[in-house]
Amino acid sequence: MSSGTNVWLGTSTKQLIQSRTGYRRRKFTNRIMLTVTALFTLAALAILFWIIIYVVIKGLQYLNLDFFIHLPRPLGMPGGGVLNAIEGTIILTILASLFAVIPGILAAYYVAYNPNTPLGIAVRFGTDVLSGVPSIIIGLFCYALIVKYQGHYSALAGSIALAIIMLPTIIRTTEEMIKLVPHSLREGSLALGSPEWKTAVSVSLPAASQGIITGILLGIARASGETAPLLFTALGNDNYEVGKIIKAGLANHKGIFAILGSIVTQPVDSLPLTLWKYAQQPYPERINQSWAAALVLLIFVLSLNIFTRIWVQVRANRMQGK
């Protein structure tokens, strides 16, 4: 009895509801749209792998030892490399880190413990906006600030531009990491009578140190791939070789600061800058070298990124006790 009623009610009401609300159409749309989102994801991933695989294949063909140990040679001469660009990139990145890391950490410390003061809000907002300023504008800024004032292009100007680009990344990561340090640690230190600065230097910051390092590495990864801010600050220099500069300095009995000074006050090249210049030349050997440069750059940037992200994830899992 009752089962019969159910069957009758079930089928007919279901049909009624389905036809009134366009159930089949809705279900169809649902399926189509969900498939489309998955396809979009696949398409975007395909582009990622297309770029990476192409650069790896092309780059491996033209990468050799000469690439790393020789200065560029005139066209037609075999065996030229981009030693100047590799050394330049290293110098620029080290200098930029020197300029960006300590101010970044201190500003982040302020923001982490004073997030809702007017200054704290302004800094958080300011760093967010600063990270959106086009990098070429930062290049123009450093040109007007340093190059024009000094009268010549230099590694110093380029590295300050890169430091400004690193700053938002460092501040934001450090801020997040300091916030993750348990309050009890800091309170314990303060309760033992140690002043705020000592608590910061010997408790809060060391506890967050691994996270801060990942932030710095991410900043380095971002800065080392930048070209636009270096175009008219570091400019490029085909004859830059740190070893030669040091030798010449020692031969002339210069002091260590004078040698360091001459390293940072001349124009330098960097890998992305060289890549850009070579890619626009009509000579196959230059273009081949730019593929090799692209590979080196890609490996450096991506491995830094992957390494830091996995590190952060492992740490986060450990903190949650997984």
Binding site: R26, T29, M33, L34, V36, T37, A38, F40, T41, A43, A44, L45, L48, I51, I52, V55, I102, P103, L106, A107, Y110, P115, L119, R124, F125, G126, T127, D128, L130, S131, G132, V133, P134, S135, I136, I137, L140, F141, A144, L145, P168, T173, E176, E196, W197, G225, E226, T227, A228, L231, F232, L275, A279, W291, A294, V301, L302, N305, I306, R309
Partner: protein, 343 residues
């Protein structure tokens, strides 16, 4: 015992009171908190000063150009002159190129990144979310020059050229659209269209990351309520989640736009770098960032330099306003904690 205490009290009472300044100095350096606070505050202020200094310096350095050309510098015209030799500069072709490439890249990137974000936040299994999200962050981490190199030698001949020809023969014959899609596309494929394509690839990770976080920040109760009323999953996403997170998504899109406007190297390598005066996407063009990248280091006269800095100033102001707007929108949804906003 009592004697002893009295003696101590006597000593304390009779100690010479230290001067006010000495006390302050001793407190400051003994405890170190004031210098420490001063240091952290001054570094915090420094980051804001950098922002201000960028604006002030660009404004000051472009003074000559601003007084020489006034508003004529920005006037929309089809026969703009950019002549370093005779010293006549008008920025309209670059402004047009920047705007049209960025907006067209949004047309492609917004549906794409919305789809990816929906997939990442709503559909894909939990264990897949993290690695997939990580891969999109890698897409954002690839340096701009590498996009440019790949663009010149792979993307232009394989994708842009055929698509450009196709658009030329189809949309190129439609009355109004033909203004934007009439060919012929140059043999190399370098055109505004190519720049727009590359930009759309480059800004997709930015928009995706923030949109995904916006979706993840929406309370589960919203989804449950919608599903309980009989909606399908897609209806839940389209009619409940997207309206709920709209301001955050809008913020993400504007951030993407800001990134597209300022993107330099990849665009410079594929845009063709010519001041043609054509409105068409299929023709080579120029953008604000690429004219600065190409000409600044070799500027021939002070006026040329100043004109380029003024182009930079315009770009700075546009991206600044867009960024402020976008951050306000994103902050409103995530209460200042949207992680993806760091992209």
């Amino acid at each position: 015992m009592i004697d002893n205490m009295a003696k101590q009290n006597h000593i304390i009472a009779n100690r010479r009171p230290p001067s006010r300044w000495a006390t302050r100095l001793r407190l400051a350096f003994h405890y170190g908190d004031r210098p420490w606070n001063a240091l952290t505050i001054s570094m915090a202020v420094l980051t804001i000063l950098v922002m201000l200094a960028i604006g002030v310096l660009l404004w000051r350095e472009s003074a000559g150009s601003r007084s020489a050309f006034g508003l004529n510098f920005l006037k929309p015209t089809t026969d703009a002159s950019w002549n370093p030799v005779s010293g006549e500069f008008q920025a309209w072709p670059f402004i047009y190129g920047t705007l049209v490439t960025s907006l067209f890249s949004l047309v492609l990137a917004v549906p794409l990144s919305l789809g990816v974000a929906i997939f990442l936040a709503e559909l894909c299994p939990e264990w897949l979310r993290l690695p997939l999200g990580g891969m999109f962050e890698l897409l954002a981490a690839i340096p701009s020059v590498i996009y440019g190199l790949w663009g010149i030698f792979v993307f232009l001949p394989k994708v842009v050229d055929p698509v450009g020809r196709f658009l030329d023969t189809t949309l190129g014959n439609v009355p109004v659209l033909s203004l934007f899609f009439h060919g012929p596309i140059p043999a190399s494929g370098a055109s505004l269209l190519a720049a727009a394509f590359i930009l759309s690839i480059m800004i997709t990770p930015t928009i995706t990351a923030i949109t995904r976080d916006v979706f993840l920040a929406i309370p589960v109760s919203q989804r449950e309520a919608s599903l309980a009323l009989g909606s399908t999953r897609w209806e839940t996403i389209w009619k409940v989640l997207i309206p709920y997170g709209l301001s955050g998504i809008l913020g993400a899109v504007i951030l993407g736009l800001g990134r597209a406007l300022g993107e330099t190297m990849a665009v410079t390598m594929v845009v063709g770098n010519s001041i043609g005066g054509s409105l068409s996407l299929l023709r080579p063009g120029y953008t604000m960032s690429s004219i600065i990248a190409n000409e600044f280091a070799e500027a021939v006269s002070p006026l040329h330099t100043q004109a380029l800095i003024e182009v930079g100033l315009i770009l700075f102001i546009i991206t600044l306003l867009l960024n402020i707007l976008a951050r306000l929108l994103v902050w409103r949804v995530g209460r200042g904690n949207v992680q993806g906003a760091r992209a």
